[in-house]
Amino acid sequence: MGATDIILLLDSSVRFAVPLMLAALAGLYSERSGIVDIGLEGKMLGGAFAAAATAAVTGSVWLGLAAAMGVSVVMSMIHALASINFRGNQIISGVALNFLAAGFTVFLGHAWFRRGGTTPNLRPDERFANIELPFAQEFGQVPIIGEIYEQLLSGHSIIVYFAFLMVPVTAFVLFRTRFGLRLRAVGENPKALDTAGISVAMLRYRALVVTGLLCGVAGAFLSTAQGANFSENMTSGRGFIALAALIFAKWRPWQAMWTCLLFGVLSASQIRLQGVEFPMIGEVPVQFIQALPYILTVVLLAGFIGRANPPKAIGQPYVKER
């Protein structure tokens, strides 16, 4: 395996990591505010469907993105209503959203497009195109550094760059702004915040709007940037892996990015390692290679990060004392 292969592998890893990163950051806002969000998967799926369906009907990928964010925010607000106003069980509300998305997307797809639950294939101009950075072609001739620029940094869709931009933005918002300080506080000790005269419910609502927006972008990436149509349950567990990455990263943005990239590398190398002969061992059964990302996750989670301390008030509905 030469340098070019490794660069291409990392390139593929980035594409695997982006939806995870966006979903993990989305979950970060929600969970830091004290609301467990197991419904990331469902919101992504809803977003993916809305993006693909809208882009197919209107021909505009940007309207598709807007629709994805809209649908995802609406779903997030249902979760907010259930867990903030009605003080329901947040896990149950999240699971309900996942089921809702899984069933509703196929139902609507079936009714509108009559293609067995999938949406029509999008033409190139109805998808997010890959952006070539300036001089990528020319600079790509330079060995290694040029190839890294051409393959790894250039030639991604705008959502990829947006996802990487959101990491420092989230870190800044969380640790350097008033909203971030309050967000962290409301997840740790909502009572203190309430005593200071700040509305706990309002703050949590705002956090969940951001969660919805980011999940919508993640969904749109799956169906209109990386892929070109929607199919039943196309997220296939990415929302849960994002949640695992978030816990692994101890609810911190930069660490969440690195974790998602690690998952991305594992997923991408899994494809390359299928059927490869290893020295000394020979060919390893494909199932083992495919299980590798999950085995490593368990090992890493069990051995290396120690205790993951969640925000203290997570999962508990806030009840004002009367």
Binding site: S12, H110, G116, Q226, A228, S231, S236, G237, I271, Q290
Partner: protein, 338 residues
């Protein structure tokens, strides 16, 4: 059965029109029925092909048929039973998910004929239609090897499963028959049935094969397959579709499609009953029976050279005559070539 008896007692009561009514029911009795699988009539794939077969029967014979789209799994037994009670025969159900409900209902109506596609239900009144996917895959493999300039072609499938391995094994055999030095990359998208819908991973698997030099990719992975075909089309290379004719998806970048003629199976079942030639038991449709094949239509005819179509005909003739025997992975769970 009690419902049926009641119905007939009711009919006898209306004596005046009884004879006429009986005649009418008599013609209705022969009406064949088709019940689609969960994806529904217009799924642009498997079920739509079944529908096309029924339509072809209607057009050719002038006879009518009845069909039904189920909304939930619970309706499977119910729908089968209702059609059987109303006297439809044969009742054709496409898809292996029908095996269990059919097994129950077919025993309740031993005089009604049933046909299931893609699975085996071992009952005296059931015809089980299977396809020799390996033979169709052999042909598209040969086409892929002839089209490839890089000497590397790819096969993307959902997960490690005998049926899917049979596709891949036939593909490799066909490719090696044309070019013994060809390298065939084979990759799985996932580990379970969810892989049939994971378009994005399928796309990445396709891209990884393209980056390793493949210039023709055969995708046998249900809805997810489109991800790999899309990757091939984006890169300006060629894809090969599966099950239904998918050539229209990316005109100019679809080399061909390995079609399973579900329509032929449905039409045959209807015709056999109408002509009094019904036979139960397992029926294997291969190249010779017109059950599988490589699709050539207006979308891909420019990609298939005269030399390629000549070779295609030659191989088809050899398989039909038995000169070439395409190994079926499912017979011994292994593939002689890789």
């Amino acid at each position: 059965m009690s419902v049926q008896n009641k119905k007939f007692t009711g009919a006898k009561a209306v004596l005046g029109t009884a004879v006429f009514a009986a005649l009418m029911t008599g013609t209705a009795l022969a009406e064949p029925a088709l019940i689609y699988d969960a994806a529904g009539k217009n799924d642009k794939s498997f079920n739509e092909m079944a529908y096309n077969g029924a339509e072809a029967y209607k057009e050719e014979t002038g006879n009518s048929y009845r069909d039904f789209e189920i909304q939930t799994d619970a309706q499977r037994e119910q729908a089968l039973r209702r059609f059987a009670q109303q006297g439809s025969s044969p009742i054709v159900v496409p898809g292996f998910t029908w095996a269990e409900p059919l097994n129950v209902v077919a025993q309740e109506f031993p005089d009604t004929h049933f046909a299931i596609i893609d699975s085996v239900v071992d009952l005296p009144n059931v015809r089980s239609v299977l396809f020799k996917e390996q033979e169709g895959s052999y042909l598209v493999g040969a086409l892929a090897a002839m089209k490839s300039e890089s000497g590397t072609i790819g096969y993307v499938t959902a997960f490690d499963f005998p049926l899917l391995q049979a596709f891949g094994c036939g593909y490799v055999q066909g490719a090696k028959a044309v070019n013994p030095d060809i390298e065939v990359l084979q990759n799985f998208i996932g580990t379970d049935f969810a892989a049939f819908n994971d378009i994005n991973t399928a796309g990445e698997v396709g891209r990884s094969q393209l980056e390793r030099g493949a210039d023709v990719i055969y995708a046998a992975a249900g809805a997810a397959g489109e991800g790999a075909l899309q990757a091939a089309a984006d890169a300006g290379k060629y894809g090969i579709g599966v099950d239904s004719n998918q050539n229209y998806l990316f005109p100019g970048n679809m080399l061909t499609s390995m079609v399973k003629r579900v329509d032929v199976a449905v039409q045959d079942a209807f015709n056999d009953e109408a002509n009094g030639e019904w036979s139960s038991g397992v029926q294997s449709l291969g190249l010779a029976e017109g059950g599988v094949g490589a699709a050539v239509d207006e979308y891909n005819e420019e990609l298939i050279t005269d030399e390629m179509s000549a070779k295609l005909e030659e191989l088809t003739a050899k398989i039909n005559s038995g000169e070439i025997e395409v190994h079926d992975y499912r017979s011994d769970n292994s593939c002689p070539v890789s």
